[in-house]
């Protein structure tokens, strides 16, 4: 277990260091998030109160912005065949997956924070009272999203269709995350208490556990030639 944690931390640190240098994923993800918010602000019927649909808008933006950055996660490893180099080291396949997952999760959480701030600015959403609940729900949603996203970005990177394939395969599998995440977010944004979304939180946590455990286990078969 200590080896697993150490190896995962090494991979996550390496990915985040590379992102810190290149800022490729963060810049594209955050730009996309702001643009989607702008599009929504123009497209939305002025008679509709934004807060009534804010949960859906936030989650659609997080999903598509996250998808945009995910593709880069494993193309990074394809340059100079670095993934082959990694697989030749004594690193466990599960630890390799988990490290990539942690780095992807960290980047998505940053993007999600920015998404909330942008929507608060554009649609005058009040986040203050529900901040803790929103943080918890969003974090759990991001965990599930990145658990599957990391696995399928590895699959997509090894196929010719690559980035085209990723959303087609991934989005249907994310429906449970969207249903429970957007539902809870919506309720919290309209001022309902955290206790009212307890069921959603438990379901998100359950899906997270299943997704993370399953993907950590099967990742080895995905990346082995």
């Amino acid at each position: 277990m200590r080896d697993f944690a150490r190896q995962s931390a090494l991979i996550a640190h390496k990915d985040l260091l590379i992102e810190l240098r290149s800022r490729e994923r963060l810049v594209s993800t955050l730009t996309f998030a702001v643009l989607v918010a702008i599009v929504f602000s123009f497209a939305l019927d002025p008679t509709v109160r934004p807060v009534r649909i804010a949960g859906a808008m936030v989650w659609v933006t997080i999903l598509f912005a996250g998808m945009l950055g995910l593709g880069r996660s494993f193309t990074l490893e394809q340059e100079q065949d670095a993934l082959v180099g990694l697989l030749l080291t004594p690193i466990g396949r599960g630890a390799l997956y988990f490290g990539k997952f942690l780095a992807n999760l960290a980047l998505l959480v940053i993007a999600a924070v920015v998404v909330y701030l942008v929507y608060a600015l554009f649609f005058q959403l009040s986040l203050g009272g529900a901040a803790a609940g929103l943080a918890l729900v969003t974090f759990l949603g991001c965990v599930g999203f990145m658990a599957l996203g990391t696995l399928f970005s590895a699959v997509a990177a090894s196929t010719r269709l690559g980035d085209t394939l990723l959303p087609i395969v991934l989005l249907p599998l994310l429906i449970p995350i969207v249903v429970f995440g957007a539902g809870a977010t919506q309720l919290l944004l309209i001022g309902r208490p955290l206790a009212e979304v307890g069921g959603n939180i438990r379901m998100l946590a359950a899906f997270d556990l299943i997704f993370v455990a399953l993907c950590t286990t099967v990742f080895g078969t995905v990346v082995e030639e």
């Binding site: 150490r6 190896q7 090494l10 390496k14 260091l17 590379i18 240098r21 290149s22 990074l76 340059e79 100079q80 065949d81 670095a82 082959v84 180099g85 990694l86 697989l87 030749l88 080291t89 004594p90 690193i91 466990g92 082995e224 030639e225």
Partner: protein
């Protein structure tokens, strides 16, 4: 030559690897067929062959990054059945460097060194960078390196964990004469009698320089397996042309 006596080839040294009935198929296409050999500890084997002969596939099988369709590769000594332990015993240098362009040379080696859980990592990194002549550029991002410098750093990465067996896949590709000479000097040092080396190349003169044993692979089969001492360059060139031309 798969039908020859492989043990005879490595009689002077203990066999580190035994490959028996090795085959790798991609769908209906055989990349490696019926290859049997023993590879002695400390032996330097050069594998020649035309494009598509399956040389890189054989190297991947030896590295453990591919599983054979049939047959087996057995490692002698140590934790031969422990895949993680086996990976510690092997170093692979390909024409792809396995390096990250957005990291410095130092960071790349430190990252790989930690994956191998190496002790005295600072000393090892200093030594390897000095050996490949990159000490002064160690803090520069690898993407700013020339092709030759990247390949030298890849060599440092390959040898950082002091592997018992080194697999080299076309390591001279894209190198200028200076970089090729430096690579050759490092490879020369690998001939220490303990480290087993397998070099895959198209280049006859570079491949023959350091080899103890010379193999020609065509269409997945070993069609020639000779001790280097019994060959001079012109004889081998004629033999290679005959074997490759006659089989393809």
């Amino acid at each position: 030559m798969s039908g020859g006596d492989p043990l005879a080839q490595s009689s002077s040294s203990e066999a580190l690897i035994q490959a028996r009935g090795l085959e790798k198929w991609y769908g209906h296409h055989p990349a490696v067929r019926g290859v049997d050999f023993d590879l002695g500890s400390g032996e330097f084997l050069t594998l020649f062959g035309p494009n598509g002969a399956g040389k890189t596939t054989l190297l991947k099988l030896l590295a453990g990054s591919l599983r054979p369709t049939r047959g087996e590769i057995r490692f002698a000594r140590g934790d031969a059945d422990d895949e993680h332990a086996r990976r510690r015993r092997i170093g692979v240098l390909s024409h792809q460097t396995f390096l990250y362009g957005q990291l410095t040379a130092d960071e790349n080696l430190r990252f790989y060194g930690r994956l191998y859980e190496l002790g005295d990592l600072d000393d090892r990194i200093d030594r390897m960078l000095s050996q490949v002549g990159l000490t002064r550029r160690r803090r520069d991002l690898v993407r700013t390196y020339s092709r030759g410098m990247q390949q030298r750093l890849a060599l440092a990465r390959t040898l950082l964990h002091d592997p018992e067996m080194v697999l080299l896949d076309e390591p001279y590709t894209g190198l200028d004469p200076h970089a090729a000479a430096m690579l050759r000097a490092v490879l020369e040092q690998l001939r220490d009698g303990h480290r087993t080396v397998v070099l895959v190349t198209h280049n006859l003169s570079q491949g023959l320089e350091l080899a103890d044993r010379v193999v020609v692979q065509v269409a997945g089969r070993w069609v020639s397996d000779e001790p280097r001492a019994q060959l001079d360059a012109s004889t081998f060139e004629a033999l290679y042309t005959e074997r490759v031309g006659g089989t393809v």
